[in-house]
């Protein structure tokens, strides 16, 4: 027996099983930093946590930078959790961080899906942590029903900005002509609201005809193909292209470019990503709206942090401070350079104490 084992080991020093074990160890070692984000030495200050969809899109990557900047400004530990589009993972990660910090945490979350907000809020309340939600939550879940832990919910109404972009487009077209529109995923609230804004603007401008509305699921690839098909179908009848986000708008510009018409047909986007602002500077994009994810990532934490550390008492705040619409920045050729210099070329300067500075009214439900 003994002899057999030794000869086996010396004869074939590396077995497949050993490689697997090695690979497994490397895998485990790789996971470790994710769990032990940072030793909880600074336990007196609450850990500040951003929970977002992914780091693979510019929007949430900028969100994360804002969170890191706020954490640095108060000297708190900063943790980023990523759901990767998986609700279960998002909720489980938040529960794990609540357990690790013993509830001494402030969580700023963009829930993966609306129903996720409820278990997140309930878990935070049970642990004594403070939470701010953004974009998604059920209509019947209100911060004032979970005092004081559920500090606030922030959203942005897509209607006025979808409308503002359509108006920018129509103005650029000279008030008449045909447009085509690229929409986001049909069941997404922002997609529905932005489309409604577009329709409102069209109703007010009877000389502008909506030739077609197609859903490109927020995706550049799909938007490129749809725009190509439109160029066949409508040709010169297209005088403008409205897109529900920047990725689709930039893809529409590329389709126009392959047709030799980039910069001749105005296009608008929404979201305010860097490449969109640069496209405005080049005169190929007519406008976009910046939600300022840097502000969302930092200010969501700042509001929760102020409540957690006794800066204000959430239960004494009016309802329009508990569920409010933030402010988007409309960017056109007039202010693109200024926006670029202040927000993209340099790190934005934020006053993290001005927590109610961008409140533009209480959230309305239909």
């Amino acid at each position: 027996m003994v002899h057999k084992l030794i000869s086996g080991a010396s004869g074939r020093p590396i077995k497949r099983r050993d490689i697997l074990k090695g690979a497994g160890l490397i895998g485990v070692a790789g996971v470790f930093p994710a769990i032990l984000t940072r030793p909880a030495f600074a336990a007196d200050k609450p850990t500040v946590v951003n929970s977002i969809r992914s780091l693979s899109n510019p929007y949430h990557a900028t969100w994360n930078k804002g969170g890191a900047a706020f954490a640095k400004s108060v000297g708190a530990d900063y943790v980023t959790l990523v759901t990767e589009g998986n609700s279960e993972k998002g909720i489980a990660d938040i529960k794990a961080i609540l357990a690790k910090t013993g509830g001494n945490a402030v969580i700023n979350v963009d829930p993966n899906d609306s129903p996720d907000a409820r278990p997140i809020v309930e878990a935070a309340k049970a642990a004594g942590a403070y939470v701010v939600t953004q974009w998604n939550k059920p209509a019947d879940l209100h911060p004032w029903d979970h005092d004081p832990n559920y500090v606030a919910h922030i959203s942005f109404s897509g209607v006025p900005y979808g409308k503002a972009m359509a108006e920018t487009l129509i103005k650029k077209m000279g008030g008449k002509g045909g447009i085509v529109a690229l929409g986001g995923i049909e069941s997404n609230v922002p997609a529905i609201e932005r489309k409604k804004g577009l329709m409102d603007a069209l109703a007010a401008n009877p000389d502008v005809k909506l030739l077609d509305y197609q859903v490109a699921n927020w995706s550049a690839t799909e938007a490129l193909d749809k725009t190509n098909a439109w160029l066949t179908q409508f040709g010169d009848q297209i005088n403008g292209i409205w897109a529900a986000n920047d990725d689709m708008a930039l893809a529409a510009i590329e389709a126009l470019r392959a047709d030799g018409r980039a910069g001749k047909v105005p296009v608008t986007g929404i979201d305010g990503i860097q490449l969109a602002v640069e496209a405005i500077q080049k005169g190929e994009l007519a406008g976009t709206v910046a939600w300022d994810p840097y502000w969302q990532g930092g200010m969501g934490l700042a509001i929760g942090y102020a409540a957690k550390t006794g800066g204000f008492d959430p239960s004494k705040e009016p309802k329009e401070h508990r569920e409010f619409y933030g402010k988007g920045v409309i960017i056109t050729a007039d202010n693109a350079q200024e926006y670029y210099d202040g927000n993209i070329a340099s790190e934005p300067k934020m006053d993290w104490n001005d927590i109610w500075g961008r409140v533009t009214g209480q959230i309305q439900y239909d």
Binding site: Q214, A229, W230, Q233
Partner: protein, 333 residues
């Protein structure tokens, strides 16, 4: 036009001794012709030269990806790393050629590096699959996420604009009315045809898909063929990445999203069997054209957006149902 000509030539070149005429083998082509006819009836603009160019532009990337995937599927394996390889290639390309984020300007040399990266991803797929005996499904699933994850890590979620005029010219500059990217895709098709019909690797791939036990017993180096085929597929995905980056004029980690579905759909709709051993890269060309013509046609015909995805699903089932050879199948899982 080119399609018909090349199809018939391959039928002649195919090393198939027994050629029983079956409608099933021609089903995808018939579907494609019917589809084109139907769309033209509803919207005559479909047949304009401009739209042909646009369809070719939309087809070039799925075609190149499909060529790689065809070899893997012919072998009876599956490759889910399409999006990983493509995304990583597109992102690395955007960082190597003249771009808006750093001072690199490697030009053609950058493309060669990207092709090597693609080959590396494919080689890793093959080696892990063969040496550790892990099913290709799992290995390539993992490599999909590794590829996208590495692209993410390189960019930190941002997008890089490509300013290199040569890369952009693949999508913008034209030769005989078609963008250079389309010619590049056709060149890839030619290479794939040569590999399939005139090389030992091509014959071995069919042999492996037809029956790996027999292939191994007759002395075919099964492991080496598998690794080589995955490497080859990785290079095709890298070419797809170059084309995708050229078309959108940027590299970001989301550039591959949704490509896997289109690729596998195109290969299967073309009539290549998921069980391996049956099919060809030309059938993939037909499959790609069906998928692209369908999505182009639905916009032209004014099919409501909410219905389009459902129509695509029905199309897949119908195409596969038409092209399956039921006589040879005993068990359906």
């Amino acid at each position: 036009m080119t399609i018909d000509a090349s199809l018939s030539s391959s039928q002649a070149a195919k090393p198939a001794p027994r050629r029983r005429w079956r409608i099933a083998a021609w089903a995808p082509l018939i579907v494609l012709v019917l589809l084109c006819g139907l769309i033209t009836l509803i919207n005559p603009n479909f047949l304009t030269f401009g739209n042909m160019v646009r369809i070719s532009q939309a087809a070039m990337i799925p075609l190149v990806l499909g060529l790689g995937a065809t070899f893997i599927i012919l072998m009876g394996s599956i490759d889910l790393s399409v999006e990983g390889g493509l995304t990583l290639s597109a992102v690395i390309l955007s960082m190597l050629v003249l771009n808006g984020a750093n001072s690199n300007a490697f030009g053609v040399f950058g493309i060669l590096i990207v092709l090597l990266v693609g080959a590396g991803v494919g080689f890793a797929n093959g080696v892990i699959h063969v040496r550790l005996k892990i099913p290709s499904f799992m290995v390539t699933l993992g490599m999909w996420f590794v590829g996208v994850g590495a692209a993410n890590a390189l960019l930190g979620g941002m997008a890089i604009r490509i300013n290199d005029p040569m890369i952009r010219s693949l999508a913008i500059e034209r030769f005989l009315g078609f963008p250079w990217g389309v010619w590049l895709a056709l060149f890839c098709l030619l290479i794939a045809l040569v590999i399939q019909n005139y090389t030992r690797l091509g014959r071995y791939i069919y042999a492996l898909g037809g029956g790996e036990d027999l292939a191994a017993l007759s002395g075919i180096p099964v492991g080496r063929v598998r690794i080589l085929t995955f490497t080859l597929a990785g290079v095709f995905y890298a070419v797809g990445g170059v084309l995708a980056a050229a078309q959108l004029g940027l590299g970001n980690a989301q550039i591959g999203t949704g490509r896997l579905f289109t690729t596998v759909t195109a290969v299967v709709v073309g009539g290549t069997a998921l069980s391996g051993g049956q099919g060809s890269v030309l059938q993939t060309l037909v499959g790609v054209l069906i998928v692209v013509v369908l999505s182009n046609g639905m916009v032209l015909m004014g099919v409501p957006p909410s219905v389009q995805i459902g129509v695509q699903g029905l199309m897949i089932i119908a195409a596969v149902a038409l092209s399956i050879d039921r006589k040879r199948m005993r068990i359906v899982k």
